[in-house]
Symmetry: C2
Subunit: 441 residues, 2 copies
């Protein structure tokens, strides 16, 4: 048996406590697997007095995470503090500078400083592992970095935020409004009091930026992501999607195109009869299209103390075994500059919901504006108002807005936006048109 | 840059050719990732003269795979010959004895000799990697061995044979008979001329035996698997499943129970609205339930030259990087003996299809036999014969057999089989009852 691997754990929130529980429950199994004991040699957190559901007796306490990182008793820093600057960053840098491997679950830190930290880790010849930073218990980092290393990746995309997927699933299954479900999710603790970070897509974007680098060997480029959240999704979008054979999911998508890489976070339509459409509630998934592996889908728990601890443990065991792959799959010094594709050049089909004034010429105007830009339509659905009985209730007053749903054939984002802007300007619609991209699987 | 890693590739069938193509197309990318070139330093196959879609010029040819394995010019043996004995086994053993790591896609070899080969590899301190042996391009070996190493696994199960899943999907989607779809699959090359190995479940069992060892740290126990294939599945089972909210899939399941491990291959009902139910055609999937990671699902291409080559490449790159985990996650010498659970003790719900003679007392007999053994029923469906119109066509002649579908509540396999045997013996049914396990997700 080799000498034990000594961990310093910085941050004792739910994930830190989950990790301590995992190490306590499965210590002998882990030692057997890697041929050495895994010891917790030091911990650090903001408040020492706080009650925690973890066995902390006898473990040296450090008030300062940076000091913990540098302490001679520590072989590996496990950073579970969070936040893109401040203590977390200082501790991670201190550990790497001291030549110690780092395991972190901190997506914000890596989305902002991932490339520089990987360069630093590589210069010191130590691991920087971050399986827990993306999609919790789903081993997507290891999969992209190691298992699919023989592939040229064309696209990686997924459902990366459990809060959004929970809200969209509830809207779908219980026919409730966005605001209603959000309020309930907040009450249940699935959504934060300030939900912006989740529902406006930034959490998804943090995670996507790391997947992009792993998939394409490019520097982390969080600021280059086009981000839209799910606030604009209405019950009528959910129902229209269902009618047309789709589900709406908040996706993070990174796609290699001829002009560069598209990185985008937005609600998207996916076919109802597909595995990704069945990823419901807080479950996450990641799909990867590679030139040799084909289409791969990974689905599982995207968050939570236990699933995240499972990912952190995997990173620790790799270090215990002496495995030291480059953090982003290729050596950090060789990561290529990120080349952004113009989103206007994005090719795809679109769902459009219009609130059109019900008067002669309105639909002709809509169709004309589309046609001018070469946008052709696959389907048009105009329904009688909800509750109105066929042939019994009078049609709504001439001139009142009525909902029209369009599905286009493949076109460019530029053409699509141009057509919708023109329709809006022409005054034939009651509100800004809703546009949702259809993501091909 | 370190010295190149020199491969000897034994076997130039579709996978071997796929691997050569991958190495030719992505050589520079792989070298950049692992910091050294990957070279093909020798190849071996049965027939030298055969035309192959791979660049073989200049690569030393060996008529004898065992000699290739031992040759001083070779660092790693890549065994793509197949078969549980013979040349493949001799070559793998020769390489390991010579202290050379082995990459193999040979599930049959490992299902029969996996434990001994792992012991041999470990004694020589070299890797024995077999990502390609299970589920093609899906990285389930790495996931179980490394990514989930911090978990106690409770169950691993999946759709591991593309031929069976293709047949069941076609039966479902096109309402065709088993025999019809099988004949078509054979014509298209999706099924072998002798389809026994696939459709009777043995291929699935080979793969399952490896997943079991990885999940539970036990010696490979292929002979301990209860195997049933899909020959008995009829169109009426498919339709009844659909009515009741299920799909029928051929699953391999390994489950830790109190009395030991269940390893079983059989058709199973899974809920229609689940990701696994949407795994259609030749796609494979593996689901893993762990105590920390929760439920994880991996889905993708389970076979084919390219997907399998992707898996082989991943194994090679791990070796190039110097990673050397134990083949089955824990050191081979510490793999525990396999302790088989009694399948009679299997707990679950069941689907039953009976062809009951339509006469007074028949259903009372059926229900009585179930009740005697404590089997309670969740639902009973007896339909008018196909094509008969309600209240118009006369009921079938009294005494003619009519189809009755039962879904039981959870019970034991022993009770279930006892009840069905008794019903059969009582002469109330026209043919052996059909019984399909319902696999909870």
């Amino acid at each position: 048996m080799n000498r034990p691997l000594k961990l310093g754990i910085a941050g004792l929130g739910t994930v830190g406590v989950g990790l301590l529980q995992l190490l306590a429950e499965h210590g002998p199994r882990l030692a057997r697997s890697v041929g050495r004991d895994i010891e917790v040699a030091g911990v650090s957190a903001r408040s020492r007095g706080k009650k925690r559901a973890a066995p902390l007796e006898g473990i040296p306490w450090f008030d300062d995470a940076e000091r913990l990182a540098q302490d001679a008793s520590i072989d590996v820093l496990v950073e579970l503090i969070g936040g893109e600057e401040g203590v977390a960053k200082a501790a991670v840098e201190a550990a790497l500078r001291a030549g110690k491997p780092v395991v972190t679950a901190n997506k914000a830190l890596l989305a902002r400083h991932g490339t520089e930290l990987a360069v630093l880790a590589e210069r010191r010849g130590v691991a920087l592992n971050f399986e827990a930073a993306v999609a919790g218990g789903i081993p997507v980092i290891k999969t992209l970095r190691e298992a699919l290393a023989g592939n040229q990746i064309r696209r990686v995309y997924g459902i990366l935020n459990g809060t959004c997927n929970y809200i969209l699933t509830q809207m779908q299954e219980e026919h409730r409004s966005f605001g209603d479900v959000l309020a309930e999710a907040q009450a249940k603790g699935y959504a934060e009091a300030d939900p912006t970070f989740d529902i406006d897509g930034f959490d998804t974007a943090h995670k996507l930026s790391l997947l992009t680098s792993l998939a394409f060997g490019t520097r982390v480029a969080f600021d280059e992501i086009d981000v839209e959240g799910i606030r604009t999704i209405t019950q009528s979008d959910i129902e229209a999607a269902d009618d047309l054979g789709y589900r709406i999911k908040l996706l993070g998508v990174a796609l290699q195109t001829e002009s560069g890489i598209e990185q985008r976070v937005h609600p998207a339509m996916v076919p109802k009869h597909s595995a990704i459409a069945e990823i419901s509630g807080v479950t996450n998934c990641v799909a990867i299209d590679g030139d040799f592996c084909g289409n791969l889908l990974l689905a599982g728990a995207g968050a939570g103390a236990k699933a995240t601890a499972s990912a952190v443990a995997s990173d620790i065991l790799d270090i215990a075994r002496g495995d030291n792959p480059p953090p982003f799959g290729v050596p950090a010094a060789k990561l290529e500059p990120y080349r952004r594709a113009r989103l206007g050049q994005h090719q795809g089909a679109y769902y459009v919901r219009l609130s059109v004034y019900d008067r002669p010429g309105a639909m002709a105007n809509v169709a004309g504006r589309m046609g001018e830009r070469g946008v052709s339509l696959e389907s048009i659905v105009q329904r009688r108002p909800p509750g109105a009985r066929p042939g019994i209730d009078a049609r709504p007053k001439l001139g009142a807005p009525t909902t029209v749903i369009l599905i286009t054939h493949e076109t460019t984002e530029e053409a699509m936006r141009g057509a919708l802007d023109a329709i809006h300007r022409d005054g034939q619609v009651d509100e800004k048109p809703q546009m949702i991209r259809i993501e091909p699987l």
